[in-house]
């Protein structure tokens, strides 16, 4: 990933977490990533337009809970928050992805954004994730927020 794209990704993601979920984050270099974290929610969202590709977000259930609770002004133990952890992660990737894409090409061309899908993270993928250059890793409140952007190129005519 080009450094400028990585910067847009990181700035947009950290700004949304700070302003709307009240979570201050810092970038985490790859060499600081240790062994595979525990349970993670793995959310993906495709897009196509001037560019096409996929966003992917990896967050722990605790991080999902904190984001959703702060976003909605609820307690982390609230029934709604706990019943909608994956939904909260999907909404987060939708907001971050839409805002990142709006910053490309001066936001002049529309994108068709897919419906986000969620699954449980497979820890067997961790080594590949650690080595991936298509990601930014943020840490806030001692929790990791890992965001990938895979651009597969311009769509076929």
């Amino acid at each position: 990933m080009q450094p400028k794209v990585q910067e847009v990704l990181s700035d947009t993601f950290s700004s949304i977490l700070r302003e709307f979920a009240y979570i201050l984050t810092e970038r985490v270099p790859d060499q600081e990533l240790g062994s595979a974290p525990g349970e993670m929610v793995d959310v993906r969202m495709t897009f196509r337009g001037p560019l096409q590709g996929e966003f992917r977000l990896l967050v722990s259930p605790d991080a999902c809970r904190e984001v959703a609770a702060n976003f909605l002004g609820f307690d982390e133990e609230d029934d709604f928050v706990n019943a909608h952890l994956e939904d909260g992660a999907k909404e987060l990737i939708n907001i971050v992805g839409g805002n990142v894409l709006g910053n490309f090409d001066n936001g002049s061309e529309p994108y068709v954004i897919g419906i986000p899908s969620a699954r449980r993270f497979d820890p067997g993928e961790w080594e590949a994730i650690r080595g991936s250059r298509e990601k930014v890793v943020l840490r806030g409140d001692e929790r990791l927020f890992i965001l990938f952007l895979s651009i597969s190129g311009r769509p076929e005519a």
């Binding site: 839409g98 529309p110 419906i115």
Partner: protein, 130 residues
């Protein structure tokens, strides 16, 4: 500026979190809501809008079954659009998308994530001549 009326509000969004976020923002903005109706996609929203008097519809663009753009077009075809103020809420804020929404006669466009202050301002503009 006129006093804010109590409103019948619908939010059409496939995310329960997003629908709840709209409700929270209305509450924090001290907007009086008579009836708050939720729909998880455009088709369900359309069916409810045929039956119920709604003053303002908050609608996402990207939804399964029937998306927000298709819903707005259908509201026009069925003659429902003139009686509903339509506010599109979306993270998709490209300029062409905003032009497309203007052409569809959308009343307002709000980028996700939004704030209660934005809601307060747009309700005043739409219903109080502010």
């Amino acid at each position: 500026m006129n006093k804010r009326p109590a409103l019948n509000v619908m939010v059409a969004d496939d995310s329960a979190t997003s629908r709840t976020y709209v409700r929270k923002n209305l509450m924090v903005a001290e907007i009086v809501v008579k009836d708050f109706v939720e729909a998880a996609n455009g088709q369900l929203a359309l069916e409810l809008l045929r039956e119920q008097p709604i003053d303002v519809l908050f609608v996402d663009i990207h939804m399964p079954v029937m998306n927000g753009i298709e819903l707005i077009r259908q509201l026009e075809i069925e003659g429902i659009k003139p009686r509903v103020k339509i506010v599109v809420i979306s993270s998709d804020h490209t300029l062409k998308r905003q032009d497309e929404l203007k052409d569809l006669g959308v009343t307002r466009y709000v980028k996700k994530p939004f704030t209660p202050e934005q809601f307060s301002k747009l309700i005043d503009e739409m219903f109080c001549g502010g």
